[in-house]
Amino acid sequence: MPTFAEQIANHVAKYQRRLAHVTQGTVIMVGKAVVERSPVGRWELWSDMWQKMRPANTYRAGEFKGSWSYSYGGVGGDFPSTIDASGSTSMARFMEVKTAPTAARHFIYNNAPYAMAMETGTHPYVSKWKLTPPNQRGAGAGAHMVQLALNDSKIFVRTAVAQARNMS
């Protein structure tokens, strides 16, 4: 039979695992939401001018969706520029949270130079810039993937907490 100290240590370890699960689960769920809502380029919706400048056979969609990254402590400055329309490469990067310290600031970021334009539909520094219609919602319509993911953040935390409660 474990000693009293061992029993306490086991309880403490369990709570530490639960805390880690809440943090990791939240990061992964937020990341998944933002990747799933990230639009993928649709060449057929481009203007004639842009289609002539960039023929279909030279374009591969999915750079933005494939370039989400994870870091903790501080936000990274990298832009992997990965072409992955499925978003699975980005999801794989988020799994790094499983080896990160629990008590830290966890960052999910995308350093694509047009990232803010994808979110809002307009470029913060370039006047007259409009995003090519994403998801057929019209010119200038952003995907708002970050805002939509944050809107669901409470649900993600509650889900992670509920899952942690079932951990032994």
Binding site: T3, F4, A5, I8, A9, V12, Y15, Q16, L19, T23, T26, V27, V30, V34, V75, G77, F79, T102, A103, A104, R105, H106, F107, I108, Y109, N110, N111, A112, P113, Y114, A115, M116, M118, E119, H123, P124, Y125, V126, S127, K128, W129, V146, A149, L150
Partner: protein, 82 residues
């Protein structure tokens, strides 16, 4: 020139005017979400403190036993009220 600034400069040619912009501005143009769990540090420290304290406490009892002091155990005698 950083890739980000090169991209924005090309937009200047194609789409219009860029306002005064620094490297810092270009960095702000990226998207980021922070899940701030740093406050859990206090909770984890307290859990570690509990483990260490209980462990220390239990070892202190063992030490007393090893020194020939009577072990602390429930009395076998029946209580007068039983």
């Amino acid at each position: 020139m950083p890739k980000r600034l090169m991209y924005l400069s090309s937009k200047k040619i194609n789409h219009g005017r860029i306002n005064k912009m620094t490297d810092e501005d270009a960095t702000i143009a990226s998207l980021k979400i922070v899940v701030d769990a740093s406050q859990l540090d206090e909770v984890i420290k307290k859990l570690d403190y509990i483990t260490a304290s209980i462990d220390k406490f239990e070892k202190s009892i063992h030490k007393l036993s090893a020194d020939g002091m009577p072990e602390c155990r429930p009395s076998q005698n029946k209580s007068p009220i039983m």
